[in-house]
Amino acid sequence: MAAVDTIIRLEGVKKHYVLGAEVTVRALDGVNLEVKRGSYVAIMGPSGSGKSTMLNILGCLDRPTAGRYYLGGIDVSEMPDDQLSAARGRMIGFIFQSYNLIAQLTVIENIQVPLLYQRKDLRAYYDHCVQLARLVGLGDRLHHRPNQLSGGQQQRVAIARSLVNDPLMILADEPTGNLDSQTGREVLELIDTLNAQGKTIVLVTHDERVAGRAQRIIHMRDGLIDREVLNGHRQAATAPPHKS
């Protein structure tokens, strides 16, 4: 899997919701997309454009009605639920708008949660988790609960958590939506750093300034990719590492 350079490949992905006998909502209507390793992609679009559905499909939280989705070269579009869970845990790191930490767990325990579901031995990975906490600047808050942290700090915990399984890509859903602009900028800078270190980032937002940090900005409309903008000055900075 390590050799695959195309992290995401969508081929004619459709997602239709049948609401009644006559009403069918075409949330995605045949999307084609390729995302290379190490790239930074922002998905934008007005509400109802299929942005959320796209996120769910990309995050393996949902399966397409039709079409193929290859994640890291593996076809996940028809995986059974259990394998899909495993794929999420192994290949995707989630960052949500509302942080989505587990309230009763401490910072370090929250970071460990994905390891638990990968059947990893938590003892062996403890130092790794502590390092990640340091990386996001929370090395001194390991045993705090989420409610003892600020929003920005909570989002940093979520970022550390998204990294713990060393995923193929990080999927961020409005990561700054609940943060003030200063804190939001800090979080985005952290994401930039990750991308600079070679992580593939897919970010869903409706904020132009947030999207502006990505190399590619994909605009969606009516369940289709409307247009794609290449963000020149960023692309030069972090060209995907090509082997061969």
């Binding site: 769910n56 939280l61 869970s85 309230a103």
Partner: protein, 430 residues
């Protein structure tokens, strides 16, 4: 540690953590199980204790024995005590004893007993007691423990010896300072040499008659040879009570028939009854078959246990429903968390396991506390009252096992419900 065991331990620890998040709620949920388990153990302990004493008493009568007692016929009871001296002739006879010995198959020994109420005296001490005229093998059949000296011998019987054996309690009252052995005690008009001290393990005769002797210690017995009893007291026993006196002619008060083995007891019982019926005009006797009593007692106990067990099971069921109710509420409340966990890679099975573990921790935790309270309750009951209680290991294991099972059974549905949630819906849940 084994990684799998460690993994499980982590899940249990996380479960406990989640439960501690709502301490009061978890404690209240546990209460149902605590009371259920406690009531199972306490009820069974009290029931067991109640039936134990009865069963022990019956067992000591001897399961291979058939006991026949003289009973004053009711029509004669009316006549008695009305001024005029009247001798009432009833009860078992020496010939009954001989006939049973000779005709009923499977009889090992027949033990006749005469019981006379008299005062026994030594120096200034006078103690009301029962004078039992009997044979040398009485201790083996009734279960007497010979503390000192010897019991009556066949030689005493043949020679009408004036010897007696005292129960320990009686000896202590009569001889506060002296050694009772080889002393002479006076009963009625005659002196008897004390040859032994015994301790009764069981006093069926007195126990049934204790209504007349209330407040008196149960072990005031003097044993003399049957032949001596017959010659010294005669066949007609006269009892004086305020203003009237009663005379009864009773040869034997009790016959204990010992069978060769317990298997023949139930065939011999009707044969003895038929035999007695032929030679007794009135029904002036009763038969007691300890084996049948024991069976009845066991049957009663079984029914008792079933009833108690059902009550306790219902309380555990109610506790289980309480747990299920709370867990369903918890699942709704923690929908978001379920969504997060699913997004982070948890399979449906992981979610099921997590909630099942929480329920089982609740139930088993409640079970443990319930076992502690349930063990303490009977101890407290027997400490505060005279009731005997017996805590059996199986009742503890049963109660604990049921509490665990309740956790699994009632936890399964909420856990499955949690696992069936759609991760997208769950993540969107506020």
């Amino acid at each position: 540690m084994n990684p799998l065991a460690f993994q499980f331990l982590v899940i249990v620890r996380l479960g406990i953590k989640s439960l501690l998040l709502h301490k009061l709620r978890s404690a209240l949920t546990m209460l149902g199980i605590i009371f259920g388990v406690c009531s199972v153990i306490a009820m069974l302990a009290i029931g067991e204790g109640a039936s134990y004493e009865a069963q022990e008493a019956i067992k000591r009568l001897g399961s291979a024995n058939i006991i026949i007692r003289s009973v004053k016929p009711p029509e004669d009871a009316k006549l008695s005590g009305i001024g005029r001296a009247q001798s009432i002739d009833y009860g078992l006879t020496y010939r009954d004893a001989a006939r049973i010995q000779d005709t009923v198959p499977g009889v090992k020994r027949v033990l006749p007993v005469r019981i006379i109420r008299e005062n026994v005296r030594f120096a200034q001490n006078s103690v009301p007691c029962q004078v039992l005229g009997t044979l040398s093998f009485y201790p083996e059949i009734v279960g007497l423990e010979i503390v000192r000296g010897r019991f009556l011998s066949d030689w005493d019987e043949i020679n009408n010896e004036n010897v007696c054996v005292l129960t320990v309690g009686l000896a202590q009252r009569l001889f506060p300072y002296q050694d009772p052995l080889e002393q002479s005690v006076k009963v009625d008009a005659f002196y008897y040499r004390v040859v032994g001290l015994v301790r009764e393990q069981n006093l069926p005769e007195q126990r049934t008659q204790s209504g007349q002797m209330e407040g008196e210690p149960l072990d005031n017995n003097v044993y003399i040879p049957l032949s001596t009893s017959r010659t010294r007291f005669g066949e007609v026993l006269i009892r004086r009570s305020a203003g009237s006196f009663e005379a009864e002619k009773v040869e034997l008060h009790q016959i204990t028939v010992q069978m060769n083995d317990t298997a023949t007891v139930e065939t011999a019982d009707p044969q003895i009854k038929t035999l007695l019926r032929r030679f007794h005009e009135k029904v002036d006797y009763e038969t007691i078959v300890p084996l049948q009593l024991l069976r009845q007692a066991e049957q009663t106990k079984r029914i008792f246990n079933i009833v108690l067990g059902s009550i306790a099971a219902i309380s555990l069921l109610v506790g289980g429903i309480g747990i299920m109710n709370i867990m369903l509420a918890t699942v709704t409340e923690r929908t978001r968390e379920i969504g997060i966990r699913r997004a982070l890679g948890a399979t449906r099975r992981d979610i099921t396991l997590q909630f099942l573990v929480e329920t089982v921790v609740l139930a088993v935790g409640g079970g443990l506390i319930g076992v502690m309270v349930g063990v303490l309750t009977p101890l407290l009951v027997s400490h505060l009252t005279t009731m005997k209680t017996i805590i059996t290991l199986w009742s503890v294991l049963l109660a604990f096992g049921i509490s665990g099972a309740v956790g699994v059974i009632f936890g399964l549905y909420p856990a499955k419900a949690a696992a069936q949630l759609d991760p997208i819906e769950a993540l969107r849940h506020e």
